[in-house]
């Protein structure tokens, strides 16, 4: 139940990829027929990914994943427009792929504004507008948060950006496959996606770049990917991503309905059965597969380990579970008090999960929280 981290590639995805490891091994840049088979697969994959997003094939750049897409979007614009302006607006709850790229650009002399979020994780578009200056070149706000699943008002942020002649990027790595993502509806100029979050392979993703938006490539080399991403294309990965996208598109409506029900049932049962448990994030503007809760008096890594011993894989933004020993920047941004920030769990569902599994997790969670509280010196005595 950690689908926000990654997903098991669909067997159809794996089967689609396999021939491109041996039989069709060509380089899409070669003019002979072996190369042209790869070129054709690349072209049709590009079209499939574009179709999902309501984009044109020529607007899709394949990358190595969400992180590279985010880097390419931010640095690609920042480098190209450095003489026009050096101000970028983002939010405090972005994925590290955005936050650390912004930090890097900050060190390079760019000015970064981090807009806050409210206690449910929502960015206020008015804060974004207030932050815009003559110097602003780009606004990047994530579509849905990877920890708490809060969905941001990207349409409104895009409208504000364009009113001021500023480009907009959104990191849609978590939202694609879990809600409709259409670049025209969102009004964005750039959008990042990743294959392994939607039952596709790891190591492949894409950046949508609206026609007419210029971008400086980050590595020098051949003229692959419309000159924006040099390097021989990862054809097996790209073919796998296209298959995953095709399946996601086909399953989207059913998945949303199914996961909404699992999510709501799980949240309701946890909050009903476990005293002093709280939902993190927004109650309704929330990814269909995201359950993020916290429990007073217990610590997240202990919760995670005990669930793991019961065969349930989840994640936590507890400080103790992170390599940096810092609690999640997202939970801190919500204003959760330090004493409570550690006892959180993220449960991210997938379409292979069942209602029986939801019940199994809740039953075990009730016992585990009870056991840990009995051991906790800060829990009130029962």
């Amino acid at each position: 139940m950690d689908h926000g981290a990654t997903t098991r590639p669909d067997p159809e995805v794996v089967n689609a990829m396999l021939p491109f490891y041996d039989e069709f091994f060509g380089n899409a840049s070669s003019l002979h027929s072996i190369g042209q088979e790869a070129a054709q697969a690349l072209a049709s994959s590009r079209k499939t990914v574009a179709d999902l997003l309501g984009a044109e094939a020529g607007e899709i750049i394949f990358t190595s994943g969400g992180t590279e897409s985010d880097n390419l979007a931010l640095k690609g614009i920042a480098y190209l427009k450095k003489n026009k302006g050096k101000h970028i607006i983002t939010s405090v709850i972005e994925h590290p792929a955005i936050l650390n790229t912004c930090k890097y650009l900050g060190d390079m002399g760019y000015r970064i504004t981090y807009v806050p979020v409210d206690d449910q994780g929502l960015v206020d578009p008015a804060d974004v507008e207030d932050a815009v200056t003559d110097d602003t070149i780009l606004i990047s706000v994530m579509h849905a948060n990877n920890e708490i699943g809060t969905i941001q008002p990207i349409e409104e942020i895009s409208a504000i950006a364009h009113k001021h002649g500023v480009l907009v990027h959104t990191d849609a790595v978590q939202s694609v496959g879990k809600m409709p993502v259409n670049v025209d509806d969102l009004g964005v100029d750039m959008l990042s996606i990743s294959a392994h979050k939607i039952y596709g392979p790891k190591g492949v993703g894409a950046l949508y770049v609206r026609k007419g938006t210029r971008l400086q490539g980050l590595s020098q080399g051949g003229s692959h990917e419309m000159g924006k991403r040099a390097g021989t294309e990862n054809i097996p990965g790209i073919v796998g991503m296209a298959k995953a996208v095709e399946l996601a598109r086909h399953r989207l409506d059913g998945d949303i309905k199914y996961l909404d029900n699992l999510r709501d049932t799980m949240i309701r049962k946890i909050l009903d059965l476990i005293p002093e448990s709280y939902l993190n994030g927004h109650p309704t503007k929330r990814l269909c597969n995201n359950v993020h809760v916290r429990f007073s008096y217990v610590e997240g890594e202990s919760l995670l380990m005990m669930l793991d011993m019961k065969g349930v894989a989840v994640s936590t933004g507890s400080a103790c579970s992170s390599k940096s020993l810092e609690p999640s920047h997202v939970l801190a941004a919500l204003g959760i008090v330090p004493e409570e920030i550690h006892g959180n769990l993220r449960i991210t569902l997938g379409h292979e999960n069942t209602m029986d599994e939801v019940d199994y997790v809740v039953e075990n969670l009730v016992d585990i929280v009870k056991k840990l509280r009995a051991m906790s010196p800060i829990a009130p005595k029962i």
Partner: protein, 125 residues
């Protein structure tokens, strides 16, 4: 990430609880930091006859707490004061490097409980 011994002490912690009439109580850590431990000792004739703990924290925090109660049970106060953070970690077949400092509070907790006992003895309370 964790050794078998850590997982064993984490999932079946020994000596969890409180001692109502403890001779010494040690409290270390801070819930805001994610780790806090309270340790209770009974002392008879200079020896630790009973030790209990309560811990809020990660797997390492709970396992080290459990481990030290087993290690120190029956020891003299002098022997128990010799137990270090490293010796607790070693008894658990090691801890991940990142856990060696923050979550390895047990030795500090035990020492604090012994100091509390010695202070009470000195003042006659």
């Amino acid at each position: 990430m964790y050794s078998e011994k850590v997982l064993d002490h984490f999932s079946n912690p020994r000596n969890v609880g409180e001692i109502e009439d403890a001779d010494g109580v040690g409290e270390v850590g801070n819930p805001a930091c994610g780790d806090m431990m309270t340790i209770y000792i009974k002392v008879d004739d200079g020896k630790l006859t009973n030790i209990k703990f309560k811990t809020f924290g990660c797997g390492a925090a709970i396992a080290t707490s459990s481990m030290i109660t087993e290690m120190a049970m029956g020891m003299t106060i002098e022997e128990a004061l010799e137990i270090t953070r490293d010796s607790v970690a070693d008894a658990l077949d090691g801890l991940p490097p990142v856990k060696l400092h923050c979550s390895n509070l047990a030795a500090d907790g035990l020492h604090a409980a012994i100091e509390d006992y010695l202070k009470k003895k000195e003042t006659g309370n």
